[in-house]
């Protein structure tokens, strides 16, 4: 369950969106990847799973990813993209079964093992009652759980999830962070990108701060999510709040004029939006 990322760079067209990012993880842990919009979080994640070309070296379980076939890589690392779509109203179980594809060959009849892995994923995510329902009949929170269940069924040791809590209400956001934490307890290394600083500081034992494609910090939330750093990266003021023996980072306001104000000042409704 190790991941090593050494000097990874990503170029999209002529733009270098990720520069020389180096980090590694040799134990199950929940790693939060934070940074402003356009920092290169998604590009870095896509590079890790081989969806965009990258320079540098990426290794899973000490094997360079370029030496692995797409199927071998898929057994090492599971990926949840930012865009959460299911194009046809597939049944929940059929969607989760797609996580078994790296283990199936040819026409892909599900083996005993595949069915067991899907059953486990369904029970881990508490989806028993929904297993035969079509995806489009589920609520947003349920849909998010189904897509995570697909990751679980893939049984990869590393899970990479790009903003999985986007669009969920607070209860579902917390439930989802708890689920990711449970995956870590089950031996997975989970890398998750987040925009919610308080959730990131509360749930992730390790935080990576990416800005302008550069990895600025790598450490615990307490160490790296400092007011100075948050101001520099996001242009926001933060407060550290202690509650229930846990510490949260809460953004409280804007610092500079770099980010346009959301409320127009001169009465022009469209200005700055």
């Amino acid at each position: 369950m190790s991941i090593q990322c050494m000097g990874v760079g990503v170029k999209l067209g002529k733009r270098q969106v990720v520069r020389h990012v180096t980090f590694s993880s040799n134990q199950p842990e929940l790693i939060g990847l934070i940074g402003p919009n356009g920092a290169g979080k998604s590009s870095l994640m896509r590079a890790l799973v081989g969806l965009v070309e990258s320079s540098g070296q990426i290794m899973f379980d000490d094997l360079p990813s370029y030496e692995m076939s797409a199927l071998e890589l898929a057994r090492k690392v599971a990926y949840l993209p930012q865009e959460r779509v299911v194009h046809w109203p597939l049944a929940v179980r059929d969607i989760i079964m797609l996580g078994r594809m790296p283990y199936q060959s040819g026409f892909g009849r599900a083996s005993q093992q595949d069915n067991e892995a899907v059953d486990r994923a369904i029970s881990v995510m508490g989806l028993e009652a929904l297993a035969s329902r079509p995806f489009d009949a589920l609520s947003g929170g349920e849909q998010a759980r189904v897509l995570i269940a697909r990751l679980v069924a893939q049984e990869a040791s590393v899970i990479i999830a790009d903003e999985p809590i986007n669009g969920l209400d607070p209860a579902h956001q917390i439930a989802l962070m708890q689920i990711l934490k449970n995956l870590v307890a089950n031996g997975k290394t989970v890398l998750v990108s987040l925009h919610d600083l308080s959730l990131a500081s509360r749930w992730c034992e390790r935080i990576l701060i990416l800005n302008d494609g550069v990895l600025l910090d790598d450490g615990s939330a307490r160490e790296v999510m400092t007011p100075g750093r948050m101001e520099e990266v996001y242009g926001v003021q933060i407060r550290k709040v202690e509650a229930g023996g846990q510490s949260f980072v809460v953004p409280t306001g804007l610092i500079d004029t770099r980010t346009p104000p959301l409320v127009p000042l001169d009465g022009d409704e469209t200005h700055g939006l």
Partner: protein, 332 residues
């Protein structure tokens, strides 16, 4: 949920196609018992009936089965590949470029000197169309480029077809062009079958082999690739399979619309929308649909040479509307 199990559904559809196939051999101006002609050596059959059965109805029925199969199948594959419920075999520009080839063969008078110039020219047209498509959208991975390239090729081919129609000085040739474009299976011979069926079969196998990848594509291109799907290979198989199969079908039957669009929609609820399961049933459903339409022509207006493509559109369009309204009602 009241849905038939998959093997039962497949068997039922195969049974339906077989029954319709034999019905198609039996029904027409004269009633013929196909069993006597095909199986029991034809001893009881009059000579004329034998000729009708073997040289007129059999090629027509066979073509209806294969053309229907490939249209339904390619429609299902393209809807899955492009993740667009409006996709149909014509979306890649293959049908239009095949039509252009055929029209040029009629326009140039080649068809009068060599009977099979038409299907061969149509095949060449389809091939050129797909080469153009691959050069426009071959390396680019996004769906939109592919659809837009298909639209561009279709427009160009249609414009050139219109030009040919416009420039024809011979009114019979323009009539022939118009009639051919309506799509039909009348007066086809076993040579047409031999010309089209191998290509349709190879194209069909290529299309069927994309089934698993299409399942994965339900979750988007990124997820599909992250679980090991080779997108380049999938796209190539889908495009080349459609080009060969639908190109060959258009070459012998003309442009027959709506089958590839509506059959997958009809079948989707029966298989829980899973693309891999949708492919075989769409092929069988397409065959059943096309034979039925072809039978309807012979039964309803036997003397008027109603064109198959006209009938599929007349049945297809209202049916499609009904389906849309039904789906909307369920959502609202």
């Amino acid at each position: 949920m009241g849905r038939p199990s998959y093997p039962v559904l497949l068997l039922a559809l195969i049974g339906l196609v077989v029954v319709l196939f034999f019905l198609s051999l039996a029904v027409g101006q004269v009633w013929i018992n196909p069993w006597n002609g095909l199986v029991a050596n034809g001893d009881q059959l009059a000579k004329a009936d034998k000729v009708i059965l073997w040289e007129i109805r059999l090629p027509r029925a066979l073509l209806a089965v294969f053309v229907g199969c490939i249209l339904g199948l390619s429609g299902a594959v393209l809807q899955g590949l492009l993740r667009n419920p409006l996709a149909e075999p014509g979306v890649l520009g293959v049908s239009a470029s095949a039509s252009l080839g055929a029209v040029l063969a009629i326009y140039s008078g080649l068809t009068t000197s060599f009977a099979y110039a038409l299907p061969i020219a149509a095949l060449i047209g389809a091939l050129l169309g797909v080469l153009l498509l691959l050069s426009l959208a071959g390396r680019g991975s996004d769906v939109l480029t592919m659809i837009l390239s298909g639209v561009a090729i279709t427009s160009l081919a249609s414009a050139l077809t219109s030009l040919a129609l416009n420039m024809t000085s011979n009114p019979f040739a323009s009539l022939e062009i118009v009639f051919w474009m309506l799509g039909s299976l009348t007066d086809r011979s076993m040579v047409h079958v031999q010309l089209a069926v191998p290509l349709i079969a190879v194209g069909g196998v290529m299309l069927l082999s994309t089934a698993r990848a299409l399942d994965a594509l339900s979750l988007g291109t990124d997820v599909a690739r992250s679980i090991g799907v080779d997108m380049k290979r999938t796209r190539f198989l889908a495009i080349m399979g459609t080009a060969m199969g639908v190109g060959a079908a258009t070459a012998v039957a003309g442009a027959i619309g709506f089958v590839g669009l509506i059959v997958p929609h009809l079948m989707r609820p029966l298989v829980g929308s899973r693309p891999s399961k949708l492919l075989p049933v769409s092929a069988l459903g397409g065959a059943a649909f096309l034979i039925t339409a072809d039978l309807a022509i012979r039964l309803m207006l036997p003397d008027r040479d109603l064109k198959l493509g006209v009938v599929t559109a007349i049945i297809g369009a209202p049916f499609f509307l009904w389906l849309l309204i039904k789906i909307r009602k369920r959502i609202v």
